[in-house]
């Protein structure tokens, strides 16, 4: 299941770190962040039912990297 989320991030390096953080999160099969269009595309693992729960974990992992980011879901 693939979903696309709007994000808010200030610098491309942080966007790259967000991508790494999201990929490390459990429940995420693969994630990519497009800094210029401020979008995060997430492909969830097949057994994931609660996408919001995974996204909350993603947000937390990203916040560890940089406080000043936002993911809208």
């Amino acid at each position: 299941m693939k979903k696309s989320y709007k994000i808010s991030v200030d610098c491309p390096v942080c966007a790259g770190k967000m991508e790494d953080a999201a990929n490390r999160t459990e429940g995420v099969k693969s994630a990519s962040v497009n800094f210029m269009s401020l979008k995060m595309n997430v492909e969830f693992e097949n057994d994931v039912e609660d996408h919001e729960k995974v996204m909350r974990a993603v947000l937390e992992n990203c916040r560890d990297v940089d406080d000043d980011i936002e993911i809208f879901f």
Partner: protein
């Protein structure tokens, strides 16, 4: 991207706050500088006077660096700038008559923030500009329910609903017109500036603008599956696969910053230590100052933002040209195009079959056509249809007797009492009618032989029309230095050679089945792997496998076939082959700007590092090396968005007169 710069109304609250802080900082710094110059207060007072504007401008950077250090991330720009400016303050306090200067200390952070502000503003503006270009969606629709008009969210409307689109509004969902007659502007979708007239029964695409009168439309699909939403999704999701240059910059940034930081440390400690030991005297403050300038120059921000911004601006420019590029990596590949492979039917030719010539040995051409058309009227084969269309007169069925289609061969009928046979040469020869060996036919195409009353009467040739702009497109590709231009077709060799000859294409593969095309493209890629990317352009219908195999797959003719759009890397909204060389030109310009930026930024930074180490510099040079380069790189990146030679050279578009 057009429009004025620095329009306050469209700034976000965050940006406005930063702008105010910068203005306050500039003003207070100027005040403090004047006070210090005129009144010459003691040290602690001076420190305070400059500390105030400094903190106003720098507080968020200091807070962020502190947080990041706690997380174990040392080498980010916040830390660098914070350390550099604090170091400068320290130096100013300890060595006020030497290298220390409070003004410089504040200037470092002030200009850094100006750079940040500029960067944020431009990013925001670019995003908004591109969005207005590719976002052809509407959030709400006028839904007609039980005779009433309800405002509904676009994404809640079910397929089969009836919606109203008033004049001046954008069509929100793909559908069929059920009531109304109007003109529709499809330029954002197809690049065609001539409005299209629509009536009840016509298909209408989301994203087009209803020009003069209200239309009632029955939606054919959901909002998210409609053309406008799909265009948006296509371009917005570009960037998942990183271009080589983007990967390079990320890796570079990761190495560059720590390298410069350690170098700064080395500059601060090693030379003075050496000098102290071997000559007994060293100006520690001087070397500390030089180390600080290192820190300022160590920020890779110019490149880190410049490269993505250039790609983004160029993707936007492509969109403006009706070329949707699915990712920066494809611009990179397009810039390196060495081979262009095009499918004939639908791409280089119109894909519609027309009578191109009549050769009649025994009667008036029009009479031959009349008889043949009547006979062919019983068949639905494309060849038959085109003959009937060419006749343009009324087919009188009362003249027809014993009419029938012979599958794969042609038709036979009694027209007006006369026995007509129209079809392949074999059809006639099987009936015992001699087909003259050196058959004269006009043009190249499918030849329909006609026999009237058991004797040979002539031929009608059906051809596919070559697009107006195909020859020019091939010429332009050649002038761009694309060495291999190839045409693929399922048609026979004769037609292929003729079309190729007229267009100036030397390498032709004809008689191909779909799987043959994949094989050939695969072989071409292997043969020419050193000479650049292989671009394939086709109009979609069964081109998906080939589009996937090519380095850059271009689907022509808009968001039609789902499979092709999925497989393609670039979607051209209209069917104009000139878009292919145009895309290459835009891509080349994009990469040229990227190289300019890389060389400029690295060149300036490393030069300043060397000058800084040797002492031919001041903090001011360091500040320029950082912020000045950032601003120049950003402005250069934006150039990628402006119209240029690409559009001028390939301006001709085929105008379909309906």
């Amino acid at each position: 991207m057009s429009g004025g710069f620095f329009i306050v109304d469209i700034m976000t609250p965050k940006q406005k706050k930063l702008m105010l802080r910068i203005i306050a900082g500039v003003v207070l710094t100027a005040v403090s500088a004047t006070v210090c110059r005129c009144l010459e207060p003691p040290q602690p007072v001076r420190l305070l006077l400059f500390l105030i504007p400094y903190l106003i401008v720098a507080w968020d950077i200091l807070v962020k660096s502190y947080k990041n250090i706690k997380k174990g991330q040392l080498f980010d720009e916040n830390f660098l700038m914070g350390a550099a400016s604090l170091g400068a303050f320290l130096l100013a306090y300890l060595d006020p008559d030497g290298r220390g200067d409070y003004l410089e200390a504040v200037a470092v952070i002030l200009f850094f923030q100006i750079g940040e502000f500029f960067e944020g503003y431009i990013l925001d503006k670019s995003r908004r500009d591109i969005d207005s270009l590719i976002n052809l969606t509407s959030d709400t629709v006028h839904l007609l329910k039980d005779g009433e008009i309800i405002e509904a969210d676009s994404d809640t409307v079910e397929a089969g609903s009836v919606i109203l689109v008033k004049p001046g509004e954008r069509v929100p969902i793909d559908g069929t017109v059920i009531e109304g007659s109007s003109s529709v502007d499809t330029s954002a979708l197809t690049g065609e500036s001539v409005p299209r007239s629509v009536d009840a029964g016509d298909q209408i695409l989301s994203g087009s603008i209803n020009v003069n009168s209200a239309l009632k439309i029955r939606t054919d699909r959901l909002f998210e599956d409609s053309t406008a939403a799909r265009i948006l999704e296509l371009v917005e999701n570009s960037g998942a696969v990183k271009a080589d240059s983007e990967k390079f910059i990320t890796r570079f940034a990761r190495c560059y910053t720590p390298f410069v930081c350690y170098s700064a440390l080395a500059v601060a400690l090693l030379p003075p230590l050496y000098l102290q030991i071997f000559t007994g005297a060293a100006d520690w403050f001087e070397w500390f100052y030089r180390a600080l300038t290192f820190l300022v120059i160590s920020c890779p921000c110019a490149l880190v933002i410049g490269i993505p911004l250039t790609f983004f601006a160029s993707i936007g420019r492509c969109s403006r040209n009706g070329i949707l590029v699915k990712g920066a990596v494809f611009l990179e590949k397009l810039a390196r195009t060495g081979t262009v492979v095009m499918d004939k039917t639908g791409t280089l030719t119109e894909g519609c079959f027309e009578v191109s010539g009549i050769v009649s040995s025994r009667m008036e051409q029009h009479e031959l056509l009349r008889l043949a058309a009547h006979a062919e009227s019983v068949s639905t084969h494309p060849v038959a249809v085109s003959i009937v269309k060419a006749f343009a007169g009324r087919i009188d069925p009362s003249l027809l007797r014993d009419a029938g289609e012979i599958h794969g061969r042609g038709v036979r009928a009694l027209v007006d009492g006369r026995k007509i046979l129209a079809g392949s040469a074999k059809l006639l020869s099987d009936e015992g009618i001699d087909v003259p060996p050196a058959v004269k036919s006009c043009g190249i195409g499918t030849v329909v032989h006609v026999a009237v009353d058991d004797s040979y009467a002539g031929t009608i040739t059906i051809s596919d029309r070559i697009r107006d702009t195909s020859a020019e497109a091939v010429q332009l590709m050649k002038s761009l230095g694309i060495s291999r231009i190839v045409m693929l077709t399922g048609d026979n060799a004769q037609v292929a050679e003729a079309v190729g000859g007229e267009l100036g294409i030397a390498q032709i593969y004809s008689g191909l089945l779909p799987q043959d095309k994949v094989e050939i493209v695969g072989k071409l890629i292997k043969d020419g792997s050193s000479s650049g990317s292989l671009v394939f352009a086709g109009d979609g219908l069964n081109d998906a496998p080939v589009l996937t195999v090519a380095d850059v797959g271009i689907a022509m003719g808009g968001i039609g076939s789902d499979a092709a759009v999925e497989a393609a890397d670039v979607v051209v909204m209209d069917d104009n082959p000139l878009k292919i060389p145009r895309a290459v030109m835009i891509a080349r310009r994009c990469m040229r700007i990227n190289y300019e930026n890389i060389w400029f930024a690295l060149g300036v930074k490393f030069s300043c590092l060397i000058f800084g180490a040797v002492g031919f510099t001041s903090m001011w040079l360091a500040i320029f090396a950082d912020v000045g380069v950032l601003i120049l790189v950003i402005l250069n990146a934006l150039r990628g968005a402006w119209s240029g030679t690409a559009e001028k050279l390939s301006r001709r578009t085929a105008v379909n007169v309906k």
